[in-house]
């Protein structure tokens, strides 16, 4: 890029081939960039380099300098290399002019064999019962760089097994290779210096101080970066062999950060969520709360069938009937008698269809439920809606998302509003009581879980959770990212955008939208920030479409209204059922999980 200051480039020889790398590149990274993988355990590019595993030993050399202090050139016109007699680690060394490395020489292979042998002598050979099997670097590198025979005839060092080092993390110290990644992660990323090594030499053991526990909201990242089976996820442990998992790239929808994820599933069951590297969003990490916040998708309270109210009772119906019923309800009322409460958890596509629905009905009364929690300075945003920015862009309201919610609730109470459409939210978040909801002539609900409000609805439309559908969202920093379908929705639940499209067609018979791509294309035509993009162009890592300064500032009076809406939610929380609560405020649910698994600490 012409405008950026020129970065100094260095010539580096890797396995006999010269390459150029910018200053500051680690040699181990430089090798990787040109397709030469150097095995490593302790090195992690987001953490400091202690150089302790010695797996990345390579041969290193520098140009031989002539009497004029200039590199002497060989017959090929390239510098002649003086090789250092000892192998060097390449994880802590930056590239320098003329530096040369050999990653596949006999000496290097001998070093790798030696280190592998050392790592394995005291490591239990319990792969058949180890959860890491299949994604274990010790297993992989043992095959790639080790030997098949063990020369070790002695007793192995005994260490603690199955230690609950935190509410969500289980530790097997015998498997630990003491690479210290987890300790450094806790110090450098999570800012919770809770893990450490005790004892010495081969007897060294990873532990937390008695009475302390690895309970920070980032604890499960230590499981991800543990190269062996020492730290395992208590949640995922023994549930599924990793090689059976189908991996779907998606994003976390538990807050406005939108951490990039991989969803691991098998036969439409989610087994785990792990962070996916994206330096513009979440680096290599995600918080435990977001990671574990998928269980509600398998809750017993899932809405599985469309239902309509008939003779005062909710009865199952097929989709055309349910949609038709909903459209019928809405067409009965004047535009001023209808309100739509959408969700900041809906995708852009769903929001666009919602906006279409509103405009075809002429409805002005539309807003989302604001959702806030305590943010940290790491990843967790205080805005717990993943797509507040999508709401801003697509619903195009003048006030901040959530600011009109209390006014809508008041209008329902006063009877001004006669039909309420609740999309992916619990109507009780508005502060309305069951009785008040029951009095509404029409209550159309599209949701995932059953709750007190769905039971008072005129029409219930069962929809999809974040892992069951495609679509896009705009995160808190204005980055457009993609959700992908990892599992099929259960029962007769349907993709949200299809439900909304059908409802829209039921109301105005409008033009046909056959795919979600069609919807995105329509957004692109109406919302300038989406210009030139498509779902596929968003890619796995997303596209920045908003600068922070482009985000409209929230008006103080909006802020007041939003705070009020959140206060109302908080007041309601005490009367809601557990599962309802889990969905409405997952942050709380994870804290409760954590509390249930550790001794009382307060």
């Amino acid at each position: 890029m012409p405008n950026e200051p020129a970065v100094q480039m260095f010539n580096v020889q890797i396995d006999g081939v010269w390459h150029r790398f910018p200053k500051g590149t680690r040699v181990i990274e430089a090798c990787e960039q040109v397709g030469v993988f150097v095995p490593r355990y302790c090195y992690h590019k987001m953490l400091s380099s202690p150089g302790n595993c010695r797996m990345c030993l390579i041969e290193m050399g520098f140009p031989r300098l002539g009497p004029d202090r200039k590199p002497e050139l060989g017959t090929d016109g390239k510098p002649i290399i003086n090789w250092m007699p000892r192998p060097q680690i390449c994880c802590a060394q930056d590239v320098a002019e003329g530096i040369a490395v050999r990653t596949d020489s006999p000496l290097v292979k001998e070093c790798q064999r030696g280190v592998m042998e050392f790592l394995l002598i005291n490591h239990p050979l319990d792969c058949p019962i180890c959860d890491q099997a299949g994604e274990c670097r010790l297993q992989e590198f043992s095959v790639d760089y080790g030997t098949s025979q063990s020369r070790f005839l002695e007793n192995k060092v005994k260490k603690p097994k199955a230690v609950q080092v935190g509410p969500r993390v289980t530790l097997d110290d015998e498997r630990c290779i003491l690479c210290s990644r987890c300790i450094r992660f806790c110090q450098e990323i999570a800012h919770d210096d809770v893990l450490g090594f005790v004892d010495r030499g081969s007897h060294t053991v990873l532990t937390a101080h008695p009475g302390k526990s690895l309970d920070n909201n980032y604890s499960l990242n230590t499981v991800d970066i543990c190269p062996v089976g020492a730290l395992t996820s208590t949640d995922f442990r023994f549930k599924m062999r990793v090689w059976f998992l189908k991996e779907t790239k998606s994003i976390c929808t538990s807050c406005a950060t939108g951490c990039n994820t991989v969803i691991g599933t098998r036969e439409d069951v989610i087994y785990r969520q792990t962070p996916r590297e994206n330096d513009d969003v979440n680096s290599c990490w995600m918080c435990d709360y977001g990671r574990l916040n998928y269980k509600y998708l398998e809750a017993e309270d899932r809405l599985l069938e469309p239902r309509i109210r008939s003779d005062g009772k909710l009865v199952p119906a097929d989709w055309p009937t349910a949609i038709g019923q909903a459209a019928l309800h809405l067409k009965q009322f004047a535009a001023s008698e209808i309100a739509i409460v959408a969700s900041g958890r809906m995708t852009n596509e769903e929001l666009w269809l919602t906006a279409q629905l509103a405009s075809s009905l002429g409805v002005k009364c539309i807003d989302i439920v604001p959702r806030r929690g305590r943010g940290d300075k790491i990843l967790l945003s205080k805005d717990r809606n993943p797509n507040t920015n999508g709401v801003r862009l697509i619903l195009g309201s003048r006030s901040a998302p959530g600011a009109k919610l209390m006014a809508i609730a008041d209008a329902v109470r006063s009877g001004e509003i006669k039909a309420l459409v609740i999309l992916k939210e619990n109507a009780m978040h508005l502060g309305l009581s069951v009785e008040e909801l029951a009095r509404l002539p029409a209550l159309i609900v599209m949701n995932i879980l059953r709750n007190a409000a769905t039971e008072k609805a005129s029409v219930v439309l069962p929809a999809c959770g974040f892992a069951e559908k495609r679509g896009s969202m705009v995160n808190g920093k204005g980055r457009l990212q993609r959700l992908n379908r990892a599992t099929r929705p259960p029962g007769n639940a349907r993709d949200d955008w299809e439900i909304l499209r059908d409802l829209l067609q039921g109301i105005d018979g409008g033009d046909s939208l056959h795919s979600i791509e069609d919807v995105f294309r329509r957004i692109r035509e109406t919302v300038p920030q989406f210009a030139g993009l498509s779902l596929s162009k968003i890619g796995d890592l997303g596209v920045h479409i908003l600068k922070i300064e482009e985000l409209p500032a929230t008006h103080p009076s909006d802020e007041e209204a939003i705070e009020q809406a959140i206060a109302v939610q908080a007041a309601r929380r005490s009367v809601r059922s557990d599962l309802d609560r889990a969905y409405a405020n997952p942050a709380e649910s994870i804290t409760r999980q954590a509390e249930a698994q550790t001794a009382p600490r307060r």
């Binding site: 042998e117 239990p124 893990l195």
Partner: protein
């Protein structure tokens, strides 16, 4: 102060802790962790779980940071010891002189059951039933020439007769202070640094030192420019006396004259290389010489703060140094504007706690920063660039720093005339093991041969014994075999070199000759083994030392050091298999040169050289065939007595039957 624990810390103890904290920069209070742990243990007898919490809170740390230290440094104990705690040295020279029997007899006298090998790691201390006594094996106490030694409480007891071990327990006072004076010096000696060591009328107080012309070189140095002093040191050719033999002047020249960050000088007084005890006497008998050397060095390096990192097993030495520092302060050799020069300098004593690895300079720096003594990777953490608190730091050995005073006294060029080219000056050699007069001898470097050292100075071997092997530079140096022939290049007067084949007796005791002979001058600790010694046993003793002292940070040394010990353990128990010597050697090969610090070499070289040079002894203990492959978690205890191992019949396994397998593997 800290209040999340219920323990009550007396105000006086807390005041002493606050004093200790003041020894370190405000933003590096963590450095005070070890001093606080020492104070805590002195007061409470042991470091409880609450101590970690309390001290962590006091220093603004997490409890795990303190627990990491308590479990790294063996001198900190998590359980109470007896009223009298006895630490018996188990390292080579003491073990050869009966240290192991000493422990056995002590245990018998006290009715103490020592922990087994497996338990020892976690519970090294065994307490007598009445709680009055406790015993513990410790690694080298740096008094190898007076082996076997032990520490009763804080007092060193030398040349303890294992047969009369019980006497240690009774009248302790009469036994105390029985340090062996070695005076007068041997006529071949050239005493410079050791001029006053062992002198009958010599004391450690500053008046004695001043009477003999002490601190004159400091006054002289303060009239010189810093460059002049650094140049003197460069010209002197002084090589570090700690073990690596690195040029001191070159090391000093890494400090940039225009350095903006604070510069630190650290005196490495963590003397713990088995076979070495030279620094012990400087510290205990001539502390002001060391301080003077340090003041001059601080001035030359523009370092306003210096630390003496003294090994924890020298409690008396630490007190002597602290007293000497106070005396020096009263004379304004230390403090603000010393002797009106405008230069400020402070020296603090920082006690280690039983970790050999803290003798490695970057491990020492980490330890001084209040962490586990994990050596740092180089690059990038060269101490002269990124040392203590990420500031430029020079770490020099005690003897090296003393030499600075003498270089200033006689001039660099004159100093360089002592010894041999590239091996200048004098150095103190420590002789221990199977000689009649073990002890310390200061010689001009290379001015005498191994033979002269052993036979003339150290009195030769015991009657009827023949020399078998010599470890010439501390236990990490490669062993030399008595009947080996060594090829050494010798420079002639006309500049040409000729190769000469010599015997072990003719090897000159200098850096280059010992390196050429395939070993090293190391720390100057010469351990002599006679023909009564079992080399497998000797190697096993050394293996144990390194397995115990490996910090455990990097893989090859952590795993390899213990593996080697386990193999020699098994060989001694009679379970050696034919492959063992080769396995031992390749383990050494896989460690040396592949670790973060030189400990890798230190633990590999003995194994490589013992196995390589005494193949007949190792083969003699490795005659069993390799056992058949074992089930992964099988414990091969039976290997020891039986030639074959019965295993669970596998015939019921249909897979095995199909494959035609027999009933056993």
């Amino acid at each position: 102060m800290p209040n999340s624990t219920t323990i009550s810390v007396p105000a006086q103890l807390e005041r002493r802790m606050d004093d200790a904290i003041a020894h370190y920069p405000r933003e590096h209070r963590r450095s005070a962790a070890m001093p606080l742990l020492h104070l805590w243990q002195e007061h409470f007898g042991f470091v409880s779980g609450e101590a970690s919490v309390w001290i962590a809170e006091k220093l603004g740390l997490q409890p795990i940071n303190i627990l990491e230290l308590v479990t790294f440094y063996p001198m900190f104990r998590q359980h109470p010891a007896g009223k009298t705690h006895i630490r018996v040295c188990r390292t080579l020279s003491c073990a050869m002189a009966g240290g192991l029997e000493l422990m056995e007899n002590l245990c018998t006298a006290l009715g103490i059951q020592r922990p087994t090998d497996g338990e020892e790691m976690h519970h090294p201390i065994a307490v007598s039933a009445d709680g009055n006594y406790s015993v513990e094996f410790v690694e080298c106490l740096a008094s190898c020439h007076t082996a076997p030694v032990c520490m009763v409480g804080e007092e060193l007891h030398e040349k303890v007769n294992p047969e009369s071990a019980a006497e240690l327990l009774g009248n302790r006072e009469s036994e105390a202070g029985n340090q062996q004076l070695q005076w007068p010096p041997h006529p071949i000696e050239r005493r410079l640094v050791y001029k006053n060591i062992g002198r009958p009328s010599w004391t450690t107080d500053i008046d004695c030192y001043l009477r003999e012309g002490g601190y004159e070189q400091l006054k002289q140095a303060l009239t010189l420019s810093r460059d002049e002093i650094v140049n003197k040191v460069k010209n002197s050719g002084l090589r570090g006396r700690g073990g690596a033999g690195f040029s001191c002047g070159l090391k000093w020249s890494f400090i940039r004259p225009d350095e903006k960050r604070p510069v630190y000088l650290i005196c490495n007084a963590d003397e713990s290389e088995p076979g070495t005890f030279k620094d012990r006497y400087i510290i205990h008998e001539d502390p002001h010489q060391l301080l003077e050397g340090m003041f001059i060095s601080c001035y030359a390096l523009n370092a306003n703060t210096a630390y003496i990192y003294i090994r924890g097993e020298f409690p008396e030495g630490a007190k002597i140094l602290e007293r000497a520092i106070e005396e020096a302060r009263q004379h304004n050799f230390l403090g603000k504007n010393i002797l009106g020069s405008g230069f400020d300098v402070e020296i603090y004593v920082h006690r280690g706690a039983g970790a050999y690895i803290c003798g490695e300079e970057t491990g020492l720096i980490e330890s001084l920063e209040g962490k586990r003594g994990y050596p740092r990777i180089k690059p990038p953490y060269f101490p002269a660039v990124l040392g203590l608190y990420m500031c430029p730091t020079i770490v020099n050995n005690v003897e090296t720093l003393c030499n600075i005073k003498h270089i200033v006294a006689i001039g660099g060029a004159e100093y360089a005339r002592l010894g041999r080219p590239n091996n200048t000056g004098t150095r103190v050699l420590c002789v221990s093991g199977d000689v009649q007069r073990p002890g310390y001898f200061e010689i001009e470097v290379g001015a005498l041969t191994m033979g002269q050292l052993i036979y003339q100075m150290a009195g030769g071997l015991r009657p009827g014994r023949k020399l078998k092997a010599v470890i010439p530079g501390g236990s990490s140096a490669k062993v030399l075999r008595a009947d080996e022939r060594f090829k050494l290049k010798e420079r002639q007067a006309d500049g040409s070199t000729i190769e000469r084949e010599i015997s072990i007796d003719d090897i000159p005791m200098d850096f280059d000759s010992l390196a050429a002979a395939g070993s090293m001058a190391g720390s100057g600790g010469v351990i002599v083994l006679d023909d009564s010694r079992d080399m497998v046993w000797a190697l096993n003793n050394i293996n144990k030392f390194y397995a115990h002292e490996s910090c455990g940070q990097c893989t090859p040394c952590r795993e390899g050091s213990l593996w080697m010990q386990k193999i020699t353990d098994r060989m001694l128990r009679g379970g050696g298999v034919v492959e063992d010597p080769e396995t031992l050697k390749t383990i050494g090969d896989n460690i040396a040169g592949r670790t973060i610090c030189a400990f890798g070499e230190a633990c590999a070289w003995p194994t490589q050289s013992f196995v390589g040079k005494f193949p007949e002894e190792f083969a003699g203990r490795a005659h069993k065939p390799l056992p058949p492959p074992l089930p992964p978690e099988y414990t091969p205890e039976e290997l020891i007595d039986k030639e074959s191992i019965p295993t669970v019949p596998m015939a019921h396994d249909p897979g095995w039957e199909k494959a035609g397998a027999k009933g056993t593997i």
